[in-house]
Symmetry: C2
Subunit: 463 residues, 2 copies
Amino acid sequence: MAANDSLLKLDGANCFEDRIGQEHGLRPEDLDKLQQRIASCHAELESRRGGDVGFMELPYDEELAARIVEKAGELRGWCHNFVVLGIGGSALGAIALHTALNHSFHNLLPAGHPGRKGAPRLFVMDNVDPALLSHFFDVIEDELPETAFNVITKSGSTAETMSQFLHVRELLRRRGADPARQIIATTDADPEKSILRRIAQREGFCTLPIPQNVGGRFSVLSAVGLLSAAVGGIDVRRLLAGAAAMDARCRSGDPRRNPAALYAALLYLFYGRGKPITVLMPYCHALRRLGDWYVQLWAESLGKRDGLETTDIFNGPTPVASVGVTDQHSTMQLYQDGRFDKVITLVEVQRVLPEGENLPIARGDCEDELSYLAGRGFEELFQAELSATRRALTDKSRPNLTLRIPEVSPWTLGEMFMFFEYAVAYSGSLYGVNTFDQPGVELGKQYTYGLMGREGYSAPAQP
Amino acid sequence: MAANDSLLKLDGANCFEDRIGQEHGLRPEDLDKLQQRIASCHAELESRRGGDVGFMELPYDEELAARIVEKAGELRGWCHNFVVLGIGGSALGAIALHTALNHSFHNLLPAGHPGRKGAPRLFVMDNVDPALLSHFFDVIEDELPETAFNVITKSGSTAETMSQFLHVRELLRRRGADPARQIIATTDADPEKSILRRIAQREGFCTLPIPQNVGGRFSVLSAVGLLSAAVGGIDVRRLLAGAAAMDARCRSGDPRRNPAALYAALLYLFYGRGKPITVLMPYCHALRRLGDWYVQLWAESLGKRDGLETTDIFNGPTPVASVGVTDQHSTMQLYQDGRFDKVITLVEVQRVLPEGENLPIARGDCEDELSYLAGRGFEELFQAELSATRRALTDKSRPNLTLRIPEVSPWTLGEMFMFFEYAVAYSGSLYGVNTFDQPGVELGKQYTYGLMGREGYSAPAQP
């Protein structure tokens, strides 16, 4: 497959008035009118490529890929547990990849089971809830010497991740183990910027870099997401190649050729028409945690108080993660009959099961009322429910888009990450906000420092 | 503890203008003005108690509790895997309970580990994704004879659950096993209404009832949620007693005494003031799936096209599940700086770790920049982050409520389920919708039947 054979298709037909009516549908002219602005957003982003915006260049770092594959091979040789210590952008990509591409019950399979692909158990500890952590240490207790910890924080000072790091380092030392053998630090390449890198250098930990021009929520295709993926047996070169295929399509500023630009434009138009909620609903259980990654990407990038040119704009759509068919029995009632404030992005995986496999519902006879299920397969039922839901949404004038991929694979995951990252960057430009910062969470951090007694910070008067 | 010793406290202070300012805060008079309507909503609901609305009576079914405890004891004696086959309201309560009250890595612990409380592995299969199901059968393959399946569908005709049932029944028969020994059917008590009950009677399965006046999303405290909870080692009588304690508080129509009425009133007032998104954010990893249960309860109950008196009102707040501290690194930027369209409900667990336990971050020295963490514990950090976030939200004029419980326990879970169920019922009355139906998903079901070739249904022309 050539590098530019992108497999992802975006179908936006159910956004337009011929499908969902005049009141809620867009007219083709709406999109035409935006074309010029989209082209400028594209040009602006393209001018920053490899400068202060680095995510688009990640697929091309072959040296890093080689290093990751080598390190993963070494880790797979000795460790029984591979643990990511990270939060937010340092965790969500790893979780999305693991959930999408590894066995649904990876950690429950015996080590030698083919579904494990020779990988250790994988854990991502993205909370500092003490009960969760305590339970986690129960689980790895007996295998601590065979456990590797990948500490991931770009700044090197994230309170949650550094607390976990301090605990683990002390635990290893107390057990007479060598932290340098078991800890890998993934952090900013510059020791001036990251205390974690300074510690790692002093204590001899293996380190991996996060490029300075790649922020946490755009870092899944850097060492942040790649190491745990490779340890889990995911072909990271295919992942990067898929991302490169999407990058190639995103070199155009024309939304008829660039699906990320089209996606950004459609959602932006709906936002302006009173639809500020954007739901991502993959019909694929393995992609449900991709939703959490998408939610962070959307929320942190676009949810901004100040615009680039105006203050106090208090901007931002609210992203929501959903999953089919499960949520047909939860939120679908609201999506179909509630306020017209949502746009739904369905992800259609044309074949959920691997080629050649089939899972029958029932081969033999069944009761009359259930006979429509006899002789059918779960794949048929699953796909029928997606089609039925899409049609019902459309009949009820609910804007919906379909992101279609032939299968869940490293390649298509790479494409989707790159697709959404481009889309959010275009969106930020359209809204006139800085896509790449997150100033709003500073205040909470300062209050936390104050409450923890950190020098130079004061606790809020009334928590 | 007496039956009326409710432990849950609702703190709504950060909803009012003295805390969050005039533009976004409520005035005490706003609530006063609603008092009369709340009282009528309460009286109306109370008049239906045990009639067409049954959830409030569930805590008092001692006969059922005894039967559940007995059946769970038998199952714990022989089964290694306990599997719920159900979707939506037949799954989300079981998941919420299991996640909240069992060990965070329950299925990974060895069978004899004290954290397992003598329970089998627990699975809830709430999707028909063929890849997920295929992986699931990998995992139980070798233990099929020691696996019990609890098939849960009120109507007895849910396509997803009945497909799973047909598959499992055939699988057991092919292996020469007796489905009647391994399948428990939880469904409508009336065989006229449930094909599953008719099958169960004919084939001799153990059956458990779902009361006719209890809908799926209100059924967690019926046999639907109780059996898997009891099998998991959860004290279901304490769960019901906690629910009864909340029920006692909800016998009053005065929001100053009834926290569910206060909660409904506050959210309703904010909905009318352009804040239709309601976020549930427990600071407790174990309560993150309570959020999914809440989302279904809110979305299906209040997301309605027609009102009781007017058609085409297209009503309904959008519920969103979140979790602290994790989502401080994901959605919090949007919640604090984005549109003023949200109300955040924080759940504060005053002690996350069991009494007497502590998990230190680092006992020894650490680097200067991290010295504020030395000698502190994860519980302190976790609670400090909650306080800091609450204060930052308030400073930024973001309405927030705190639901405070002393600990996560069967009792407090019982209280919370009952609290939210009452609150959504009051909300439905305030909005003037039927809280207890879900007509909006019918169209999608009919299209699915049509696509699956069920007699009497036709596929949509253009899926």
